[in-house]
Amino acid sequence: MSDEITFTIDGVEVTGTQGQTIMQAADQAGIYIPRLCWHADLSPGGSCRVCTVKVNGRAQAACTYPISEGMLVQNETDEIREWRKSIVEMLFVEGNHFCMFCEKSGNCELQAMAYRFGIATPRYPYMFPQRDVDASHPDVFIDRNRCILCGRCVRASRDVDGKNIFQFVNRGRETRIAINAEANLADTALSAMDKAVEVCPVGAILRKRVGYAVPVGKRKYDHEPIGSDIEARRAKS
């Protein structure tokens, strides 16, 4: 087929199709590239940079970078691992991540990423920002202490729910997720069944009254590192 593209990731030959991103082709091939802002049902965000790989020697985000014939992609090198670890640690100190009482603990992608990288504690100083919680909505709450600004809710609400309820406001370190109302989440058109609620990788947007349903030891990342499902595809093939 003419639109078939062959390239390598860490020396392993990978075949994809024209128009795919590195992430898509790698997933198919069973090679896991760590990611946080990316979600299978959404357009890529390119914001967390955890999926940074080297393409012909240059750092690029695997989730947005298109594949091309013969490109050399590096994924699992000490240097890249160090960058990714560093970024995950940045997220931990930027917000207030109290895993010990978070409903998402054990199923949280940020936490799982830190586990995968073996991070005992971030090397950076905690910022302990003052962030707010909005529990005005009957079925959903937002806890901005836990938000990592991945923008999944923004994309999901805009592209899937067609509601545009979430948006980034401010800039730089003041950036936050705002809602389409003067003050309260209850005043927006958000429903607990919205994609925007489902896709939050951390415990920042959660449905009420369903927390802690799964006991410790049976949660998603208690035994298997994040990405194991993708890596299992390769083991099989």
Binding site: P44, G46, S47, C48, R49, V50, T52, A59, A61, T64, Y65, P66, E82, W83, S86, I87, M90, L91, V93, E94, R123, Y124, P125, M127, I148, L149, N164, I165, F166, Q167, F168, V169, N170, R171, G172, R173, E174, T175, A178, I179, N180, A181, E182
Partner: protein, 605 residues
């Protein structure tokens, strides 16, 4: 509902054709007329433009010159640039605070005057400087501060602050500004003077491909800093598929220490306009945009006048230079205070009425740009060079400058030198030659290319200023022996922290962390391992950030660590008994002493 808000919003949205992509014009207009873009105004704008209120809020909250809360009829924005601070901006700020009885970030109780700091406003050679609404005030001193406050209190009219006028076109009725051009050296390309229409008439006699070939043969590289070959960019855009194409001029110079485009826009906008029209001809675009930084709002009427004159002379509009089918027109898109919009894809976002966060690349703007159409974005100076290349020939241009950096370059020179201002010099001169020219013989360091460039030490003064050695978009800041380079680096990091768009993690968080650790060292609390820590952080931010801002923001620290390491090592301490030098028990107890009303008791065992 507030009728006035509704009226103003309706008027402004109607004026921009109720076009969602023109939101910048609407929110800027609302800010100007109502002093803020309130939640109510956001609702109204969203209704009129057919979008959601939170999208309007996203835009308003992104730009420094827009605000949800009212800010004062006159807002004094003091340039927070390193150079202005070298020249005494901190004292000036204090004087303003005293005279107004408010702190930076506040507004006087009567709502008349607000006081803020803002990133470099491009007046480094005549600083300390500030903007009072859109009126630049220069050479500030504590005496001038009282005059300004008195005048504003009495009249409430920023325009009345302009008493003496600058030279050249600054003195015209349309600009009417105290800003001076300070052109210290005119070269053969930009400031040599060109008969209006000379380049356009020449272009009209060539095919678009010939124009591109000429620019490529001249080996013209982009003047904004990155140095990408302009001819290649034009060729990519010409070849890209799209029902319409666009030419955008990046007049958003915001790199601290850069102000040369301001002088071009003041003195020779016709040259720029010709360059843009030629680019349009070359790539097949009929529409151009000048993205003018909000700080240069005072030049807008002047630019519009210049465009109108070009129309009259048949050098803009339809049938340019008498050639049938050669049509090109330009609109001005105002920015509103965001350095990151100098990044071409962020600039396009801003032109489309979005937050100024850069886009993922590829696709590049030459393929998918403004309104998703192929778009060429070039710097002001680049278009001017292109016009001259078409007029005088590629060979003439390529003979100037160095092998891989042809032509002349405009340098914005500021800091500790006797002759700050704008210089047009051929590429390829050494730092020593440069310092000789600008009267900076005592320099201990030169910041080449602004904070996102390189800080060079005296051993490097024989290096050449050109893309193949030390590249620069024109910002050249000279540091004398009295300066602390670590203080300067810290202020540069403040700038990047403030100007990061916040989209990607390494830039949003990493720059804050770099700044924290640098300050630790400046305060004599850093340890040897902090240097490795900084190097690692700089590397992550540079490699992993999404756009040029984050990919260069660690440079103030990284290049001083490399070229001025002793400035760091001198301040390091060794940790005693495994205690962290950064932990200060007395300071940590300060709040409790205040809240509990007693001093701490230390029991000895």
């Amino acid at each position: 509902m507030n009728l006035k808000v509704d009226q103003v919003v309706k008027k402004l949205t109607a004026a921009s054709g109720r076009d969602r992509t023109r939101m910048m014009d609407v929110v800027r207009g609302v800010q100007a007329e109502l002093g803020c873009v309130s939640g109510e105004a956001m609702e109204a704008i969203a209704r009129e433009l057919g979008c959601e209120r939170v999208e309007v809020e996203g835009v308003v909250s992104f730009y420094a010159f827009l605000s949800k809360q009212p800010k004062g009829k006159a807002v004094i924005r003091i340039s927070d640039c390193v150079v202005c601070r070298m020249k005494g901006a901190d004292k000036v700020t204090e004087a303003f605070e005293q005279a107004l009885g408010i702190r930076v970030g506040e507004t006087t109780a009567d709502g008349q005057i607000g006081l803020e700091r803002t990133a470099c406003i491009g007046l480094c050679d005549q600083g300390p400087a500030a903007l009072v609404n859109d009126v630049p005030v220069t050479y500030l001193s504590t005496e001038k501060v009282s005059e300004i406050v008195d005048s504003l209190t009495a009249t409430g009219e920023p325009k009345k602050l302009v008493k003496t006028l600058g030279e050249g076109k600054n003195a015209t009725e349309r600009i009417h500004s105290m800003v001076i051009n300070n052109v210290r050296k005119k070269g053969e390309v930009i400031f040599a003077g060109m008969e209006p229409g000379a380049a356009l008439r020449k272009a009209a006699g060539m095919s678009p491909q010939e124009v591109i070939r000429e620019v490529k043969t001249a080996r013209l590289r982009g003047r904004g800093g990155a140095g990408f070959p302009a001819g290649m960019k034009w060729e990519f855009c010409r070849k890209a598929a799209g029902e319409r194409k666009f030419v955008i001029c990046n007049a958003d110079e915001g790199e601290p220490g850069t102000f040369k485009d301001r002088v071009i826009l003041t003195e020779c906008p016709e040259l720029l306009i010709e360059g843009m029209a030629i680019a349009g001809y070359a790539i097949g675009a009929e529409q151009g945009i000048i993205y003018l930084r909000g700080e240069y709002d005072y030049l807008r009427a002047h630019l519009e006048f210049s465009m109108a004159q070009m129309h009259e002379k048949g050098l803009l509009g339809d049938g340019i230079a008498g050639k049938k089918g050669f049509a090109f027109d330009i609109r001005i898109q105002m920015g509103a205070g965001a350095y990151v919009c100098g990044e071409e894809s962020a600039l396009i976002q801003s032109c489309e009425g979005q937050r100024g966060s850069p886009r993922d690349r590829p696709p590049f703007p030459v393929e998918v740009g403004y309104l998703n159409m192929p778009t060429v974005v070039n710097n002001v100076e680049t278009f001017c060079c292109a016009a001259r290349i078409v007029e005088k020939g590629a060979g003439w241009f390529a003979e100037l400058g160095s092998k891989d950096s042809t032509g002349t370059k405009l340098f914005s020179v500021s800091g500790d030198c006797s002759l700050p201002g704008v210089y047009e010099l051929p590429f390829g001169l050494t730092i020593s030659e440069f310092l000789e020219t600008v009267g900076g013989r005592d320099a201990i360091a030169v910041q080449v290319g602004g904070p996102s460039g390189t800080c060079v030490n005296p051993e490097m003064f024989d290096r050449r200023i050109c893309f193949e050695d030390l590249g620069t978009g024109g910002s050249m800041i000279v540091f004398g022996p009295q300066r602390s380079l670590l203080d300067a680096a810290s202020q540069f990091m403040d700038f990047f922290v403030e100007e990061s768009c916040g989209w990607c993690v390494p830039c949003r968080v990493g720059n804050v962390l770099i700044k924290e650790r640098l300050d630790r060292i400046r305060q004599g609390k850093g340890q040897a391992e902090d240097l490795d820590y900084l190097e690692q952080l700089c590397e992550t931010v540079k490699r992993c950030s999404r756009c040029g801002l984050g990919q260069t923001s660690p440079n103030p620290v990284q290049t001083t660590l490399k070229h001025f390491r002793e400035h760091y090592t001198q301040r390091l301490v060794e940790s005693k008994d495994g205690l962290q030098p950064t932990f200060d028990l007395t300071a940590a107890l300060g709040d409790a002493v205040e809240a509990q009303g007693r001093e701490p008791v230390f029991h000895e065992d």
